[in-house]
Subunit: 344 residues, 2 copies
């Protein structure tokens, strides 16, 4: 075992955040590295994925698809790990696996939640372009959004882990793609590097007017992954028969109560009716069984051929995960956020 001094560093939930998390809501602690029982493996975390859904799991209520993180326990999270001690017949020391070791150096697993990765030149890809976030983009866009050639697709957080892949797949499918992102650098990247047709700054005070100008034929698919003010600019531009896959509403994850008015729900529902719009939420966990193989096949090809480009925002050191996570909720990241714990 390669555990230095037998220490397992963990970032645990110190207190449940009220609204936006602060560094004090997290605590770095240490425990002994656990030993695997028969049928278990010990995992060393190489890369940890940071994702907005984690904010929901910090609330006492948890979500309908996952229980809350207990106070004092490590935050949950998807990881690329190496098996460092196996007492499981299907895994050997040195195997690279996709798992859910959470925000810590080491974890035990009974193997049921592990996906063998083989050797990868760039293991973090299993968390980004070939992992959950890109799979979220793939399923939400293709299965719910269903863009047709010539249609207009709008995606917010356009350079984020999900949005960048949504936009690039939509371009592959022949759609006009308009992104919304935080700041001129990100917008330039979306257009020049990712090939979007246009990209608008979400802080633009004339966002609604500029979005209308960028979408002269209206909007057929709006990939909702932020919520908030962007939706208000999008709603009047939606075409008859538009589709709105709801992947996330990051702008609202920190809200405790119903926000102040006016109440935008009636106008939204009236618009859904008059324009025959489908708005549909999805949770990517539901789709591994029937779509993950398709995704891996298509995406591997698109990445290899350079048709889909990936940008990772790599943060070094588990101790920096809380700050990186807070930044992610604020849109400070530029690309998919992964924390590198070790290259071992």
């Amino acid at each position: 075992m390669s555990a230095r001094d037998n220490v397992n560093r963990r970032v645990v939930l110190a207190t449940r955040p009220r609204g936006v998390p602060t560094p004090q809501d997290f605590r770095l602690d240490q425990t002994a590295v656990p030993a695997p029982n028969e049928g278990q493996v010990l995992l060393r975390t190489l890369y940890l994925s940071l994702d907005p859904y984690m904010r929901n799991l910090m609330d006492e209520a948890g979500t309908s698809y996952a229980p809350p993180v207990p106070v004092g326990a490590p935050i949950v999270g998807g990881t690329v790990s190496r098996v460092v001690a196996s007492r499981h017949p299907q895994f050997r020391d040195g195997d690279l696996v996709l798992g859910n070791a959470g925000w810590q150096d080491y974890a035990l697993s009974d193997g049921k939640d592990l996906i063998p990765l083989g050797e990868m030149a760039r293991p973090s890809l299993a968390l980004s372009g070939l992992g959950m976030t890109a799979f979220t983009a793939y399923v939400g866009l293709l299965d719910i959004g269903q863009p047709k050639p010539g249609e207009t697709v709008v995606v917010a957080a356009a350079t984020g882990a999900v949005g960048a892949v949504v936009g690039q797949i939509a371009k592959l499918k022949g759609a006009r793609v308009v992104g919304i992102a935080g700041g001129a650098d990100k917008c330039r990247y979306a257009v020049e590097e990712l090939g979007f047709d246009a990209c608008l700054d979400r802080r633009d005070p004339q966002l609604a007017e500029h979005l209308a100008a960028a979408c002269p034929n209206g909007i057929d698919v709006y990939f909702e992954n932020v919520g908030g003010a962007v939706f208000d600019a999008v709603l009047p531009l939606l075409n008859n028969g538009a589709r709105v896959p709801v992947c996330g509403v990051i702008a609202h994850y920190n809200e405790d109560d119903l926000p102040a008015g006016p109440d935008r729900l009636p106008k939204t529902v009236t618009t859904l009716l008059q324009k025959r719009i489908r708005m549909e939420g999805f949770i990517i966990l539901d789709h591994y069984g029937n779509r993950f193989d398709d995704f891996r096949r298509d995406m591997s090809e698109w990445i290899a051929s350079g048709r889909v480009k990936l940008r990772e925002d790599v943060v070094d050191g588990l101790e920096n995960a809380p700050d990186a996570f807070i930044g992610l909720l604020e849109g400070r990241n530029f690309g998919k956020v992964v924390v590198r714990l070790t290259d071992a």
Copy 2:
């Protein structure tokens, strides 16, 4: 021609309503009965359908699917009419037809929007159980709601033209059906006559608690045809994978501006996401081409066998249409509202 004194009485839009329409927004006037040109028929209106969508057409903006009614013009509306003078090769004097003659005694048509009805013992059925409102129930429930045996379906305005049919078809498909209606009489009717499993008074101050008790397994399909407070009671009870066909939001048709807060949109969208809910608006005009024949076949059978019961709220006299329409928007009707202009 049977026109008495050659007079065509019409109810025209006097002024565009602000909020809830008042009797002063309508005006009964008279013109001469028009004479058909070659290729036209003159129609005598027997029955006029009153429907909530008409409120939207009184606004200057109209809707995405129909232009506004001009001030001074007759209100639009579906009708059962008799051809009283035909200069059209496909129609003969005396033919009974489904059309769109609007709120008036007589109208001309070039025949393109007419559906021949043959003789019917109860011609108003073409506007209720075999007409647009029941078709709306059929498409919204079966094609979008897709209830499975044992699932729970909730429908508001449960004794209204659409709601009563939604609930009865859902029962036919093996679902548990819970209605919401205005007052004890309507609720009793929904349970005792229509066969709903339960029905709650929408003015019940404990609606949320009582709805939860009536839906012990949650809600799988919510047929949205009212909007407003009912939705707040429904939202927390929706199950994973629930479907919400949006047929109408009558509670909001009279609203000019965004209503006061709190803003219920973020919580709604978050719920759609966490519970993978599909919310989808539809406009029945889109579905005549591919589903109307199925509907007529199924519904004729269900009505003939007594498995679907229809209740019409028949108002006598064109001059009473404005008051009946205002009552419809307020939920004063009990069943499908049709205005009988003549039995001729």
